[in-house]
């Protein structure tokens, strides 16, 4: 990979991140579309959770990540501390893979 392509990717990735903070500021959010914009990350995060659990490279797979997410869900529901949730999920997957 050439440095040129790498720097182009870095510039594009940064431009995407900076679109809101630098160019739009808080103007959009103060308008009527603010409430909708505020909800947008929620389906993205929900999708991220399931894709990270089930993605097997262009197909869906059921492996140790699924019971690990189940354990995490029960702990989140029982209002366990964040660290407990994350460590329990990793431990569940690690034990199932022994």
């Amino acid at each position: 990979m050439s440095w040129g392509v790498l720097l182009a990717l870095a510039a594009a990735a940064y431009a995407l991140k900076a679109l809101g903070p630098v160019f739009a500021g808080r103007r959009i959010v103060d308008g009527g579309s603010g409430a909708i914009l505020d909800v947008l990350p929620i389906p993205l995060l929900a999708a991220l959770i399931l894709v990270q659990t089930l993605d097997g490279g262009e197909r869906l797979v059921l492996d140790a990540r699924v019971p690990a997410l189940g354990v995490a869900a029960v702990l989140v529901w029982r209002r366990a501390p964040f660290l407990v949730v994350v460590v329990a999920a990793a431990a569940t997957a690690a034990l199932l893979r022994l």
Binding site: G20, I42, L44
Partner: protein, 225 residues
């Protein structure tokens, strides 16, 4: 969340991503990137999913330009995060421009879990800096060490990230319309995973807000009164 809890959780997320960065470093070097390029990518691109996509395409024998498409598609969600963080970020344009580099999944999710704007900004900044520090440190270790460090999956580390985002998403589900949007978005993404290139399923999940629009608008109108 108090400042101490924010810092503790941010450090935990940082360490988890740092361990993953080690595996990125190993893969990047074995895919033909130099150590300097591997590290530059973590510092300058700084969005994990895109970096793994680039390395994946290069490792499979693809060209650098072929790697750009999926990498950019995966980075597109950061634009949505940046737009939604408008009220959270502070200061003038220069400071916003600097903090924009920290707009990623983890910092956004942590910021949105807070109750007031001040804690939200703190959570964004502390999480972003923690992940940045550990991500770059882990990358350097992986790039220098090469293979032989073991598979992070054996330690269940890949199962950590869904748990991280679930714990961060759960408090947000109380917002009006949030459950509908989350459920619809997750369904759209899962259906699309086998059918579309990486990155597209998560962006398409944005359409999950459509069934929630009526509820969101009604609550926004009521709140404005």
């Amino acid at each position: 969340m108090g400042p101490r809890t924010i810092t503790r959780d941010a450090l935990a997320i940082g360490v988890a991503t740092g361990v993953y960065a080690v595996s990125y470093g190993v893969l990047a070097v074995s895919a033909g990137l130099s150590v300097a390029q591997t590290c530059a990518m973590s510092a300058l691109v700084f969005t994990g999913a895109s970096q793994f996509a680039v390395v994946g395409v290069l490792g499979a024998g693809g060209g650098a330009l072929a790697a750009l498409g999926p990498a950019l598609l995966l980075a597109t969600r950061n634009a949505v995060y940046g737009l939604s963080l408008g009220p959270v970020l502070r200061g003038g344009r220069a400071r916003r421009a600097l903090e924009a580099q920290l707009v990623i999944d983890e910092s956004t999710a942590m910021a949105r879990g807070q109750e007031d704007p001040r804690s939200a900004h703190r959570a964004f900044l502390v999480t972003g800096l923690s992940v940045f520090a550990f991500w770059n440190l882990g990358t350097l270790i992986g790039a220098l060490a090469g293979g032989g460090l073991g598979d992070p999956r054996a330690f269940g580390l890949d199962a950590m990230f869904p748990a991280v985002f679930l714990a961060l998403l759960a408090p947000q589900l109380r917002r009006p319309g949030a459950r509908t949007a989350a459920l619809a978005g997750a369904l759209i993404a899962v259906v699309l995973v086998p059918l579309t290139p990486a990155g597209l399923p998560i962006m398409a999940a944005l359409l999950g807000v459509v069934p929630a629009l009526a509820v969101v608008r009604r609550h926004a109108r009521e709140a404005a009164r």
